[in-house]
Structure formats: structure tokens, C-alpha cells
């Protein structure tokens, strides 16, 4: 799940970069940049959930 989260982060960034490079009109460019950031947020949530408390509990 952690790897998938990081892949989503990279995919979101890829969407943002592609939106800049491929879209000329303002509205679709803004929409795709925001969509890319949304994908990044989903990836971030996955990465966070994939990191349990490690080595920090009483032993």
C-alpha cells in the first residue's frame, strides 16, 4: 500500500506536468492541475495509512 501511495503521488505530479505541457486553454489546464493535486492527496492518504506506529510502543 505504501508503494502504491508513492506511485499515486508521482502519478499526480505527472498529471500536473502533462496539463502544463499539453493543454493551452486556461480552464482545462486549471482543471487538470487541480485533478493532479487531488490524486496526490489520495496518494498521501495511502502513504500515511501505510505507516503504522513502529518501534515506538512499550516493550
Amino acid at each position: 500500500m505504501r508503494l502504491f501511495g508513492f506511485l499515486l503521488l508521482l502519478a499526480g505530479w505527472g498529471i500536473v506536468v502533462c496539463a502544463l505541457a499539453l493543454l493551452a486553454a486556461d480552464a482545462p489546464r486549471i482543471a487538470f492541475v487541480l485533478a493532479g493535486i487531488g490524486v496526490e492527496i489520495a496518494g498521501l492518504v495511502l502513504v500515511i495509512r501505510a505507516h503504522p506506529v513502529r518501534r515506538g510502543v512499550h516493550e
Binding site: 503521488l9 505541457a21 498521501l44 513502529r54 518501534r55 515506538g56 510502543v57
Partner: protein, 444 residues
């Protein structure tokens, strides 16, 4: 290729910039004191030693290859053609600062400021890895940050890279603007701190079996507050020199940058104090200090381009953001960040980057430096920068530190945590005469 923003600046302006750069080490001293004060007494000497080593390794790595890859606008770089536009991806200067005229020209000032800034970014993760990060691992991680991650992003922002080109290539305002390093220094350092906190895990005794955190208070509030004051001095130099060097501001405009820096930090610290007073009945010194640093980090984004009232507003929001996110990271995300580095630097820095798009009034083309100015879209350029930090820099820095952890484990052995980092790694404590260790490892 975009022209250097300093093209029209006088020799006197360059010398003022140089004098301001000399203040930046105060910020490093401040951050070192803060992370030491917020850590345990049994690791205090180790914390200061790690800060010194990190600064040294960062300076050397930046000297070897960092500046060669960061570069300066107008210098040699590797380009890629993307959709018919030329994107500058990485500078292609000489290693070891060879063939650089180190005589006060803008590129040499950028090299000097970069050498100090990269140390500042590398100090940030020390706060999140306090009490359990091995000294050798700190140095190895710093070498990676200073030799690759930081120069790469700094080139994109300050070296004439593709983020700086968003204005000329796509008409997005003046391209990604980051006056004093809210994104380039603070967010890069803060996201590295997040990676380190994830990789190291929490300190032993921090979380009970049910996952509830226990309080492990910092050992010296005096060091923390002194560090805050020192950091302010350093940030005044950082933001003012950045405004001149990377944004082509006139030396007189540094007064505005300095006032905004102070206002942002002051408002953020007071907001944190008020929030903790309202929630817990008493103001919390460590959270107020985190608010102060968060305010400084956020001010670095737009300090040269916003009104003082807007800077105070940025600080107010930063104080709330930092205070709430410290608790959120600790309780809900189970991230043990003893120094509050992730909240203050990553959250504060990202908010500072966004604030440029929301509040900045950036002069039109020709009024400031040589960069072009689109009709609008500055906020979109800032959003692209934030997306790059979270979507590219975070996976990059996590991946590099994860690889490093496979080769050279970053977390100290359990015995080291029990003894304290001072005795275990350095052989002597910071306060040998009077320290008494409580045992935090008993079952609660």
C-alpha cells in the same frame, strides 16, 4: 532561458546582499538550539554535534556537486523540449566550484547563499529524528540532500529551471516565486523530516499499546526561545538577501521584507500561544516556538511582495496551522516529531508558497529584475510548485533515505535509546553533574 533577475543591480546592492548573507548562519544556530532544547537532556550534546556535522557535510556536498547542479539563471543547463517549450531541468556547471568567479558577482553570491541555505534545509530533519537518529546516518542523509535533492529543486526555482520558466513559457505570472526559500529550503527540509520520521519510527515509550501518545517534554525551554530569537536574525538575512538575489529587489525593498518577516513570526507565535491558552488553560512554550518558526518559514515565500497587514495575516494562519498540525501528526498520524519540524517547516513552508499566489502584488515586467510577468496565473504557478514538492520531492527524498536505510540503518540500537545518544554515540553527556534519568520504559 530566463535572464538573471539581478541584471540591473548595482555593485553596492551586491555588497549589501553579501552582508545580509552573513546573517544566515544565525538561523542555523537557532534551529540547532531549538531541536536540542526540544529533545531529551540525555541526547543534548549529540544533537548539537549532529547539527555541526550536518552543516559541515552540507557545505562540502554543495561544494562538490550541489552548486554545479543548481546553477544560476543564464548559466549552462540541460534542457528538454516539452510541448514545443524549452524546459531547463538541471544545471551543468563544473564540480568543485571550478571556473566560478568568486568575486561578488551574482552567481558567486548565489553559491555562498546556497551553501548556507542547504545547511539550513539539512538541519530541519534533525528535529524530527531527535533522540534516535545515528550521527553517521544524519551525515549520510545530509550528503544526499545537499548533493542532489536540494540542488535539483533549487535549480528549478532559483537557477532558471522549469518552475521559474512558468511565466515565460506559459504566462503564469512571474513563474514560481519563492523569495527566501519557503519551498526551496523549508518545505524541502520539512518533507525530508517527514520521511525521516516515517523511516525511524517513534521513540521508545512514545506510544502506548493502544496507540495513544505520551508526552515527552523538551528538556530546556530557555534554549528553545533563545533559538527562536537567533533564527529571526538569520531569517532577516535570508529573506532580504533572497529578495535581492533571486527577485532583483532594490536594497531599499529589503526593509519591507524584514518588517514582513518579523510580523509573520510574531503573529504566528502569539496565535499559537492564544490557541494553547484557550485549549489547555496555559500557553505552551514549545508550541509557541514552533509557531514562531512556522511564521518565519511562511514569511519566506512572499515577504518582498505583500503588505505588512497581509504578512500578519499569513502569520496568523500559520500559527493556527502549526499548532493544530503538531497535534494531528502526533495523535492521528502517529508521527513522532520531537522538534515539530514537519509542522513548522513543511506545513509553514507550503503555506508560505501558496500565500504568494493569494496575497502577493508582484511588480510588472521591467519594474523588478528582468523576468517577464504574465497577466495572471501566479496562483497556478505556486500550485504547480506545491504539487512538485509533494508529488516529486517527497517520494524522491523518501526513496533515497529508504535506500540509505537498507545500506546503513539510520535508527540507533535500543540500548542507545535507553542510555541516551550522548553516552552511546559520544561517550559523554551534556550535563554530567546533575542529570537524573527517569525511566520512560516502564509499562504504563
Amino acid at each position: 532561458m530566463i535572464p538573471a533577475p539581478t541584471a540591473g543591480l548595482s555593485y553596492a546592492a551586491m555588497m549589501i546582499c553579501l552582508a545580509l548573507i552573513f546573517l544566515v548562519p544565525c538561523a542555523a544556530a537557532g534551529l540547532a538550539l531549538i531541536s536540542t532544547g526540544l529533545g531529551r537532556s540525555r541526547s543534548a550534546s549529540h544533537s548539537m554535534m549532529a547539527a555541526m556535522c550536518v552543516l559541515a557535510v552540507a557545505a562540502l556536498a554543495y561544494f562538490v556537486c550541489g552548486f554545479a547542479w543548481q546553477g544560476f539563471p543564464g548559466g549552462p543547463a540541460h534542457f528538454a523540449s516539452v510541448g514545443g517549450k524549452q524546459w531547463s531541468l538541471l544545471a551543468s556547471g563544473h564540480f568543485f566550484l571550478r571556473h566560478e568567479a568568486l568575486d561578488g558577482v551574482p552567481a558567486s553570491l548565489a553559491a555562498l547563499l546556497g551553501m548556507l541555505s542547504v545547511g539550513l534545509a539539512a538541519l530541519v530533519p534533525l528535529g524530527s529524528g531527535a533522540d534516535r537518529w545515528r550521527l553517521g546516518a544524519c551525515c549520510a542523509s545530509t550528503a544526499v540532500l545537499a548533493g542532489w535533492t536540494y540542488p535539483l529543486f533549487a535549480h528549478w526555482v532559483w537557477g532558471g529551471g522549469w518552475l521559474a520558466q512558468l511565466g515565460t513559457n506559459y504566462g503564469l505570472g512571474r513563474g514560481f516565486v519563492d523569495t527566501g526559500g519557503a519551498g526551496t529550503i523549508q518545505a524541502v527540509g520539512g518533507l525530508t523530516a517527514l520521511s525521516i520520521a516515517w523511516l525511524l519510527g517513534a521513540r521508545r515509550g512514545k506510544y502506548m499499546h493502544g496507540g495513544m501518545p505520551t508526552a515527552i517534554p523538551g528538556h530546556n525551554g530557555v534554549l528553545v526561545i533563545l533559538g527562536c530569537v537567533l533564527a529571526l536574525v538569520g531569517w532577516l538575512g535570508l529573506n532580504s538577501s533572497g529578495a535581492i538575489l533571486y527577485n532583483g529587489a532594490d536594497p531599499g525593498q529589503t526593509v519591507l521584507a524584514a518588517i514582513n518577516t518579523i510580523l509573520s513570526a510574531a503573529m504566528a507565535a502569539l496565535t499559537a500561544a492564544v490557541i494553547t491558552q484557550a485549549r489547555f488553560g496555559k500557553p505552551d512554550a514549545s508550541l509557541a516556538a514552533n509557531g514562531w518558526i512556522g511564521g518565519l518559514a511562511a514569511s519566506s515565500g512572499a515577504c518582498a511582495f505583500v503588505s505588512p497587514a497581509a504578512a500578519a495575516g499569513i502569520g496568523l494562519l500559520t500559527g493556527a496551522l502549526v499548532t493544530l498540525s503538531v497535534e494531528w501528526f502526533e495523535v492521528h498520524m502517529s508521527i513522532d516529531d520531537p522538534g515539530g519540524s514537519i509542522s513548522a517547516h513543511a506545513m509553514g513552508g507550503l503555506w508560505g508558497v501558496l500565500s504568494v499566489g493569494l496575497f502577493a502584488r508582484i511588480p510588472a515586467a521591467g519594474e523588478l529584475g528582468g523576468q517577464s510577468n504574465g497577466d495572471g496565473g501566479q496562483w497556478l504557478a505556486q500550485l504547480v510548485g506545491i504539487a512538485t514538492l509533494i508529488g516529486f520531492i517527497l517520494p524522491l527524498t523518501y526513496g533515497l533515505n529508504w535506500l540509505l536505510d537498507r545500506v546503513y540503518p539510520q535508527r540507533v540500537a535500543a540500548e542507545g535509546e535507553r542510555q541516551g545518544m550522548d553516552l552511546y554515540e559520544l561517550g559523554a553527556g551534556a550535563y554530567p553533574e546533575f542529570i537524573v534519568h527517569n525511566d520512560e520504559f516502564t509499562e504504563r
